[in-house]
C-alpha cells in the first residue's frame, strides 16, 4: 500500500512512522504540507494518507477539500492537535476516514487503522 505521512513537524512524522506496522512501511513517503500531498497524489503515490491539519502553505482542511474536489480514492487518517469538536466534524464531512488526536501513540494509530479496515 502506498502510504504518505504529511506533517510540517519532522518529529511528528517520525512518531507516526514509528507507530506503523511493518506491512505499511514498505512503500512510504513524507510531505511537509498539503501542496506536497497533492503533488504526490497526482503522481499516483498515495493510497493511505496520514494528515496533519495545522501546516503552512496548504493546511489539512484545504488538502481534504482539494482531495474531495478531485474525488480522490485515498483513505485519510487525520492526526492532529486540533481537537475541537467542530474541527473533527469538519474533517469527517470532508471525507476523512479516522481522526487520531496528538500526541500520537502507536495504540491510537493501530486502533484507527483497525476501525477503518486497513489492518
Amino acid at each position: 500500500m502506498k502510504v504518505l505521512i504529511a506533517d510540517d513537524s519532522s518529529m511528528s512524522r517520525k512518531l507516526v512512522l514509528r507507530s506503523l506496522p511493518e506491512s505499511l512501511t514498505e512503500d512510504i513517503r513524507q510531505a511537509c504540507n498539503g501542496a506536497e500531498v497533492m503533488e504526490a497524489y497526482h503522481a499516483g503515490l498515495v493510497e493511505l494518507l496520514f494528515l496533519d491539519l495545522t501546516m503552512p502553505v496548504m493546511d489539512g482542511f484545504q488538502t481534504l477539500e482539494a482531495l474531495k474536489r478531485e474525488d480522490a480514492n485515498v483513505v485519510v487518517v487525520v492526526i492532529s492537535a486540533d481537537i475541537q469538536p467542530l474541527a473533527r466534524q469538519r474533517v469527517f464531512e470532508l471525507g476523512a476516514a479516522a481522526f487520531v488526536a496528538k500526541p500520537v501513540t502507536a495504540e491510537a494509530v493501530l486502533d484507527a487503522l483497525h476501525l477503518i479496515g486497513v489492518l
Partner: protein, 203 residues
C-alpha cells in the same frame, strides 16, 4: 542567550510541535466556551529581541493592538504570557460569549477570563508534555489604550525573558482574533530543551 542560540533545527521543530499540541488544547477550550471553531496558526518560535528594555516587535505583529493582558507562570517553567487583542477584541469577545452588557468593567473581565483559559491551557499543555510543574499568578490588564495604536510598544520586559512562542487564535465567523506571546526565561528554557532532547533521543 546561550541556550537559544544553540537550538538545533530538530529542537526547534520539536518545541514547535509540543506547542502545537498545547495550543490545540487551548483552542478546544475556547471553542467549547464560544461554541465556534477556532482557527489555529502554526506556532512561531524566536529569541526575544530587545531594544533597551522594550520588545523589538516583529513586522507581522505591527498591528493595532489596543489591549494587552499578562499572566505570569512559575515553577520549573517560568515566564509570562501576553495576550494581545485588537481594537474590536472586547466587543467581538462579548458577542462570541453572548454578553449584551459591554461596559468597560465587563470587557476587562472577559479579557482576563480568556487570558486565563488560553495561557493556562497552553502552558499546562507544554508543561505536561515535558513532565514539569507550573503554577500561575492571576492575569491582569497590562495596557488598555483608547486610541488605535500598537500596545506592544509599551511592553516593559523582565530582562530574564529570552524566548518567544507566538500563537494566533482566530474565530473567522466573528472576526475575532488574539495573539499570544509566550515568553520563557533563559534558565527555564534550558529545562524545556533538555526535556525535548530526551524526547528526540527516544525517537
Amino acid at each position: 542567550m546561550e541556550t537559544l542560540a544553540a537550538l538545533t533545527e530538530d529542537q526547534r521543530d520539536a518545541l514547535q510541535e509540543l506547542m502545537n499540541i498545547a495550543m490545540g488544547q487551548a483552542a478546544e477550550r475556547l471553542a467549547l466556551l464560544t461554541n465556534t471553531m477556532v482557527t489555529l496558526s502554526v506556532p512561531f518560535i524566536h529569541p526575544l529581541i530587545r531594544e533597551q528594555n522594550k520588545l523589538s516587535i516583529p513586522e507581522h505583529l505591527r498591528r493595532r493592538f489596543m489591549i494587552v493582558t499578562r499572566q505570569s507562570f512559575l515553577g520549573e517553567l517560568r515566564g509570562e504570557v501576553f495576550v494581545c487583542f485588537g481594537s474590536m477584541g472586547a466587543d467581538k469577545l462579548a458577542e462570541l460569549l453572548g454578553y449584551n452588557d459591554d461596559g468597560p468593567a465587563q470587557q476587562e473581565e472577559l479579557m482576563l477570563d480568556v487570558t486565563n483559559i488560553l495561557s493556562g491551557a497552553c502552558i499546562s499543555g507544554l508543561a505536561r508534555q515535558v513532565a514539569i510543574q507550573v503554577s500561575y499568578d492571576a492575569p491582569s490588564i497590562l495596557v488598555h489604550r483608547e486610541e488605535p495604536t500598537n500596545a506592544l510598544d509599551e511592553l516593559n520586559l523582565n530582562e530574564h525573558l529570552a524566548m518567544v512562542l507566538e500563537i494566533r487564535f482566530e474565530v473567522q465567523a466573528h472576526q475575532f482574533s488574539c495573539d499570544l506571546l509566550i515568553c520563557i526565561t533563559e534558565r527555564t528554557a534550558g529545562v524545556v530543551i533538555r526535556a525535548i532532547d530526551r524526547l528526540l533521543y527516544e525517537l
